[in-house]
């Protein structure tokens, strides 16, 4: 067991998120394989990887939603799986592929999440109103979340993750299904949050977005970290997308196949 982290030379404060040997198997497939990752405090960290790389599994294990078969997750220095309640206190989560309590209206849902965290009602109500206003959801009023569009749902989930002013924010695919205008708003909110001393970890398929937004990046494939560190180091002069394809491999030349897909041929 390493003490504070393997590289004690540069960073005096403990990492906002430290994953140590995280492993998860589903039946015979190993989704996440002894994964180590350090997210420095105050960083804007992007996690990229191909479909099925284990991003969601990793982030679920890092946030207490999925129990790892082995390994530890340290949230702001607290061992999440040793004392989940304590570690979750300063952690905000936007899970992907998870339903919301969607028979509530937007304000009700955000308030509910705050109250679950034991916040006083008047604080929750003020913050919920402010968040929904900033995210452009105030006009939805008492519409139930079940009737929201996909993008609105993402935004209200983000509001839920933010309502208790966490120190670490873990967002799984926060920009999926979000329109460009809302995307800009979310980027602005997240940027201000990091400037104010918060730490963001987000996963995404969109390399351009990660390149523009994040200062650190980790490339994950087949449940392992292929490269991680400051953005400049990882992409090494090239564009992130090129570096990603180079690291992950598996790009297939499809010239000549799938001819039947061309609409000139009749079925």
């Amino acid at each position: 067991m390493n003490d504070a982290g393997p590289g004690p030379d540069a960073t005096p404060p403990p990492p906002a998120l430290a994953l140590r040997g995280l492993t998860k198997r589903f039946g015979t497939t190993t989704a996440v394989d002894r994964l180590d990752l350090d997210v420095p405090a105050g960083s804007f960290y992007g996690v990229v990887g191909p479909n099925g790389a284990g991003k969601t599994t990793t982030l679920s294990m890092a946030t207490g939603l999925l129990r790892p078969d082995a390994g530890r997750a340290l949230v702001l220095g607290e061992d999440l799986w040793a004392d989940p309640v304590r570690a979750k206190r300063r952690l905000g989560v936007l899970p992907d592929g998870v339903r919301l309590f969607d028979r509530l209206s937007g304000p009700e849902l955000v308030r509910y999440t705050g109250l679950l965290r034991g916040m006083p009602r008047d604080v929750v109500e003020a913050r919920a109103a402010e968040l929904l206003d900033a995210l452009g959801l105030a006009s939805a009023g008492p519409t139930l979340v079940v009737d929201y569009s996909a993008g609105m749902t993402k935004k209200v989930a983000l509001a839920c993750a933010l309502v208790h002013a966490p120190r670490l924010l873990v967002l799984d695919e926060p920009f999926e299904a979000v329109d460009p205008v809302s995307g800009a708003t979310i980027r602005e909110i997240l940027g201000a949050y990091v400037e104010g001393g918060g730490t963001v970890v987000l996963s995404s398929h969109v390399m351009d977005l990660v390149e523009r937004l994040c200062d650190h990046v980790a490339v994950i494939a087949a449940g392992r970290v292929l490269a991680a560190g400051p953005l400049e180091e990882v992409r090494g002069g090239a564009r992130l997308e090129e570096r990603f394809v180079e690291l992950v491999g598996g790009h297939r030349d499809i010239t000549g196949s799938l001819a039947w897909l061309r609409s000139s041929r009749t079925p």
Binding site: T63, G64, L65, L66, R67, P84, V85, R86, A87, K88, R89, L91, V93, P95, G97, V98, R99, L100, F101, D102, R103, L104, S105, E108, Y112, T113, L115, L116, R117, G118, M119, P120, R121, G141, P142, T143, L144, V146, D147, C160
Partner: protein, 552 residues
């Protein structure tokens, strides 16, 4: 039943250029899904084997009865076959609404994007409905009537065809009623009222028919056979019994009558299928959860009460649960079945011709039992939204307490009213302490056991926005085990109040006060113990519970 596991390759696209009929593809898809489920979990194999064994026992018993009827005169065999057959059709049509739900492995809405012709969809789903223990058992028994009516070759042939028609009618009826009821429930304006009225009506139709016909037939107990014959004669002309009665006519040589009934039976099947198709079309037009546009979250009366409670996470959970009790059809169905329990207790004895009195007394405690126990899978109704409770680090006991608080908020007054009304209507005000004690004991034990059970053995439930009458695939066995174990536990824990209550009913009314004391003591005790223990279990198993309820 191991023979149903197909080669997975056979379910992929065929190499031949001719596309297979969509009907067959659907049946094959159901088999593949069944096989996939079996491969995923050994418990599903156990479940299927147990289910198949139970099915075999039923088929064996009833089937041998049908074979034995071959050597009885037609006028003895006919009422039996028609009566039992009609009950079977009724059961298929009504039971999924109130009890077991319908196996929606092939949820029709999933085929919305595939441009499957609705006709093919209906036929294919009908065929797929026969795959599975209940479908197969019904088909086998329906075919067994061929033996019963093998008094001549033409009669046996008609019995064979009519048997298939009857079995298909069963499956189609269950689909039609649940699809129609689900789409009705989705409509905002009507759903609150309809959930309750529909549930009550669905359950009471059968017994009410019984009451009416037995009254019409004189209802004397000595003429039991006569009554049964009269009932069967009536049923033979209803949509429930036409297909069963046709071959009986043929066996008796009344071919004209047989032809009429058979034609009508086919017409009934076609009509039921058309009704199902229409309900599907309506569901397609407003798919899934987006049906009721403009729903809004207005605060209700109970919210105002809860708002006055202190800012505690448990109170927040309770407030959220109360909103769900009002806004979610699945909760509405669950609440409606609470109203059905006492109604059954009045109607059933009436239909047997016995006095209602003692049953009225039992109404309150039984409803209390059902209400407390109904929370035993509450987490599963959250589906993966339960992740919010996990991610926020909510304490298990707050989660438990909130759910109990919300249910008790509206159930306690209802149960109190039911119990009081029962005792007063039965004219036994002296037994009030006994029934109140029994009801309190049952309700407290139910809440306590539910609080532990929903953390310990959550099983998949219909996801939000889905047909509230469906049971997710592969959940049947886990469902049965969890339901049986939890109801047994409630019974045992309620014994301290139930035993003196029964003693009081049997004659020593002083025991009623003992029952009341025991109920008031053990009820809250079990609830508090359940919330604490269940909370501790939930704290330990949060990710596992989340995984269990996120399935389906």
């Amino acid at each position: 039943m191991a023979a149903v596991v197909p080669d997975p390759v056979s379910t992929s696209l065929p190499a031949s250029t001719r596309a297979p009929r969509p009907e067959l593809v659907l049946v094959r898809l159901k088999l593949a899904l069944l096989a996939g489920g079996l491969r995923r979990s050994p418990w599903q194999v156990v479940a299927l084997v147990l289910g198949a064994l139970a099915g075999l026992v039923v088929v064996g018993l009833l089937g041998s009865g049908l074979v034995a009827l071959r050597w009885q005169p037609v006028d003895v065999a006919a009422p039996v076959v028609v009566g039992v057959g009609s009950v079977a059709v009724l059961g298929w049509a009504v039971l999924p609404l109130v009890a077991f739900g319908v196996d929606e492995t092939l949820d029709p809405s999933r085929f919305a994007t595939f441009a499957v012709p609705r006709r093919a969809l209906v036929v294919g789903l009908l065929g797929a409905g026969l795959v599975g223990v209940p479908g197969a058992a019904t088909l086998l028994l329906a075919l067994a009537t061929t033996v019963t009516w093998s008094r001549s070759v033409p009669a046996a042939l008609l019995a064979l065809v009519a048997g298939v028609v009857a079995a298909l009618t069963c499956v189609a009826a269950s689909r039609a009623t649940t699809t129609a009821a689900a789409s009705l429930l989705r409509a905002r304006r009507t759903r609150d009222v309809l959930a309750i009225v529909g549930g009550v009506a669905a359950v009471s139709v059968g017994p009410l028919v019984n009451v009416l016909t037995s009254r019409l037939a004189g209802g004397a107990v000595d003429g039991a056979l006569g009554v049964a014959r009269a009932l069967a004669a009536v049923a033979g002309w209803t949509p429930l019994g036409l297909a069963w009665a046709a071959p009986a006519d043929a066996a008796a040589g009344r071919w004209g009558l047989a032809a009429v009934r058979f034609a009508l039976a086919v017409a009934v099947l076609v009509l039921v299928l058309a009704g199902w198709g229409a309900a599907l079309r309506r569901a397609e037009a407003q798919p899934g959860t987006h049906a009721a546009a403009g729903r809004s979250g207005r605060p209700g009366v109970l919210d105002a009460v809860v708002r006055r409670l202190p800012d505690r996470p448990a109170v927040a959970v309770a407030q959220r649960c109360l909103r769900y009790w009002r806004r979610d059809p699945r909760y509405l169905v669950s609440a409606a079945s609470l109203a059905v329990v006492p109604l059954l207790l009045v109607v059933l004895p009436l239909s047997q011709g016995s006095s209602v009195g003692p049953w009225l007394l039992a109404g309150g405690p039984l409803a209390a039992f059902a209400a407390g126990w109904s929370l035993h899978n509450d987490v599963a109704y959250d589906h993966s939204a339960f992740a919010a409770h996990v991610a926020t680090g909510l304490r298990g006991r707050d989660d438990r307490a909130g759910r109990v608080l919300a249910a008790a908020c509206w159930q306690l007054p209802v149960l109190l009213a039911l119990t009081l009304a029962g005792a007063l209507l039965a004219g036994r005000a002296d037994l009030l302490p006994a029934v109140l004690g029994a009801a309190t004991g049952c309700y407290g034990a139910g809440l306590g056991v539910s609080s532990v059970a929903s953390a310990l053995t959550p099983y998949a439930a219909p996801p939000p926005g889905a047909n509230p009458f469906q049971t997710p695939r592969g959940a049947a066995a886990a469902t049965l085990v969890a339901q049986f174990a939890s109801s047994a536990a409630v019974t045992v824990l309620a014994l301290p109040a139930l035993v003196p209550a029964v003693v009081a009913v049997l004659g020593s009314s002083w025991a009623g006060w003992t029952a009341l004391a025991a109920g008031l003591l053990t009820g809250p005790l079990w609830t508090v113990v359940g919330i604490r223990q269940g909370g501790a279990v939930l704290d330990r198993r949060l990710p596992e519970v989340l995984a269990a309820v996120s399935r389906a």
